[in-house]
Amino acid sequence: MEFLKSLFASNFLPHGTCYLWDPQIVWLHVISDGLIAVSYYCIPIALIYLVRKRRDLPFNWVFWMFGLFIMGCGTTHLMEVWTVWHGTYLLSGLVKLFTAVISVFTAVMLVPLIPKVVALPGPNQLHEINRQLDLQVAQRSDRERELMQLTEELERRVQRRTAELESINQALEKEIALGITTQQALRASQSRLSSVIESAMDAILTIDESQRIVLFNRAAEKMFAYNAREVLGQSLNRFIPERFRAIHSEHIHRFANTGVTTRNMGAMNPLWARRADGSEFPIEASISQTEDAGKRLFTVILRDVTERKQAEARNHLMATIVDSSHDAIVSKDLSGRILSWNKGAEHIYGYAEAEIVGKSVDLIVPPDQLDDLSRVMQEVAEGKMVKCDETARVRKDGTLLTVSLILSPMRDAEGRIIGISTIAHDITERKRDERALRELTQALDLAPVLVRDTTGRILLWNRGSEKFYGYTKTEALGTLSHALLRTQFPEPLSDIEEQLHRDDAWQGELVHRRKDGTEVVVSSRWALYRDNEGKPPRVVETNTDLTARKLAESKLRELNLTLEQRISERTADLQTSNKELEAFTYSVSHDLRAPLRHIVGFSKMLQETCSNSLSSEGQHYLKRIEDGTHRMGMLVDDLLNLTRIGRQELKLQAVNLDPILKDIIADLAMDTAGREIEWKISALPPVKGDPALLKMAFQNLLSNAAKYTRKCAKAVIDVGVADNVLFVRDNGVGFDMKYADKLFGVFQRLHRAEDFEGTGVGLATVQRIVQKHGGRIWAEAELGKGATFYLNLSFVSQNPASDASDVKEKFYDCV
């Protein structure tokens, strides 16, 4: 009691005090806690309802635990409301303790439970299981329905069988009643049966289970050449070739066990039987088994198929022949549908058997031939055999063929025409060859060809000959060819014939006379033709007209003649112009110099006679006139030299340059007096050339060298040979190589007249001379360092093989 009192004792301030009795706060807490409490009390009610309703739920104690725990929670919230106004915190603490204990216990219990709950089937799995169960149930009910139907069927059968049995019973009763009559009928039937067996075409024999013969009909007697008496009761083995006996008896055994009554024998392999004389023959057999008085009997019906096999072999042979033929062998029905198609046809027409059999023969016939074909087929259908030597067909690839055909009717056993067989032979190639041969023959006919015997009598005279010679075939045949054509031979005929018989051929130029009397030159080829039959040889003579060629040749000759004439005309022209040129230069040398002389002369006289009255200026002008005239004179002289070189004829000989150079240097001595010049002249090989011209050339080169070294303290002028080339080198002023191409031009100068006098003709003259010798001149120089002139002239002793006279000269030199 004391404890209860303490429970409700409120020595503490109510919780509302903490809220300072603020009505908003107080009521917020009160209403919230109240609502939570109400909700918490509702949840256990729902859980209890669930557990009550679903007693199959596993682990339902957990729900009880949850219910209790949530109830506790609700009570704590109720206590929260209570403590707002009443400070009974012991009571509210106890309620919390109770709730805590329940919560902890529930939580601990849940730990082992979780995996088990996870393993529980979910709603999807359950749904699948349900579906399968429904299926099984459906199947089960189907099967039940079937069982019901079967049961019904069974019942119907039992009823039917019962009815049948009843009717059989009735029939039996009737049969018994008819007993005697039946016996008689049976006997008659047996006798009929044995006569049928005896008269059968096929051999019929019956054996018992131990293969002993119990029946052997007449046909069998005939087939095996045994009497029935000899074989009845004997083993069947004597009719079976030894090698088949074991397997045969095994077959019979197996057949007995199958329970089948009848079967054809030898489905796999041909069967063979053996006659009394041991000879074997092919058979066809069927076997049937019957039971008679508990004994099993086997009846075999045999047929001798020797003839059929032979026929088959013949057919096979025929088929092989047809297939091995290179000709197309095709059969078709009367409407043109193809029935058979051999390998030859495949090859010729390009269609495989499988793709064309059953189709119309029109496939291989060109459209323009279809009418022809139907006409021919009509004829064949009326029983005629039609041959066609040449007609066109189309291959599968569209190319045209030429074939020869034989179409013949096919008849059935009754002789009715049921189809057409065609044999086609491909003659495309042969036709092509024939055409080529025809063309060749035509081409050959264009050329004159004749064949004669060895006496010269013409045997063949082609169109070419007719046309060429003018004699017709009738005129020519039989005559002697040489007489007819009045042949002119290049050598005696006997020699020609000798060569013909030795070499079987001859060829040469002949002159023939045509019928109109004109002569023709021909290139004639004769060939001796011997056949293998020992006939006398013949001469095939082919003649080619050379008249046109001869004419062309003579024209050419004429042309050559006129050419020579033209050349001499041209030469005359040239000579004339040369003469004119000479006259011109003569005139230049004579007339051009005259005024110069006059100017010089008169100015001199003026100077002499009027020297007193002339001022120094006037004197100076007179001097300039004199100098200019002098220069003009030199120019004219140099030019005349140059033209003279061009006109002058070369007098070639071996020229020793040494004395020439010495002379030149001596001549230069006057001009170079007082200068220091070192002349380095190497030993030079003799040059093939004109001594006067060579001297002129070196005069120019050396005087140039002396002139352009004028300003050197010490001039060095070098003349020598390097790599078979003559050179003249100086150490003078040289020149710029970019003007090298102007060096040899007439009037071209690379230096000013004040520095170095000159006309600009000297090097042109040297070049003219060197070129006239067939040589070449060129220069290398550097401004201020001198110039080198190279002359490529031919040396006498350079090439001993070139000229015998050179060798001789050299020889003399050595001596």
Partner: protein, 157 residues
């Protein structure tokens, strides 16, 4: 007319300039008193063969020297030379070819035809005068004349 027969030098020259220069040179040296000038080949031939314009002349008095140019109107110098040297009446007359031609063939032809000398006129006037001087000196003074006729020589005007 007698002047024809007293000729020391017959100068055959068609060009007036050349003629003047030659006469100037000859006279300057006082080598010949009587110089007779003809202006073409034909006139030269008439003079030497005493025909045509000179038919009064006599072969007795040939010129002591003929200075012959080659390039002449009508008859060329070579033609004149040929006639003169082929005729026994004139053959002995000294003929010096005085020409501007440097052609070798002229030189060769002249000597072949019997020219006594061949002189090329140089451009330089001093040289020309020198040549004229020595030629005159030689042929008129030094050379012994083949038909030396003192009477004629004496009969100078």
């Amino acid at each position: 007319m007698t002047v024809y027969n007293e000729v020391d030098i017959l100068l055959v020259e068609d060009n007036p300039d050349d003629l003047e220069l030659a006469l100037h040179a000859l006279r300057r040296e006082h080598l010949a008193n009587n110089i007779f000038v003809v202006r073409d080949g034909e006139e030269a031939v008439e003079f030497l063969f005493c025909t045509g314009r000179f038919q009064d002349r006599s072969f007795e008095n040939p010129p002591r020297l003929v200075l012959l140019d080659l390039k002449l109107p009508k008859l060329t110098g070579l033609e004149v030379l040929k006639l003169v040297k082929n005729d026994p009446r004139t053959k002995a007359v000294p003929v010096v070819v005085l020409t501007a031609s440097r052609e070798e063939r002229d030189l060769v032809s002249s000597y072949n035809l019997g020219a006594n000398s061949y002189i090329q006129k140089p451009v330089d006037f001093d040289q020309f005068r020198e040549i004229v001087k020595s030629t005159g000196l030689y042929w008129i003074v030094i050379n012994q004349h083949p038909i030396s006729n003192p009477a004629t020589m004496a009969a100078r005007p």
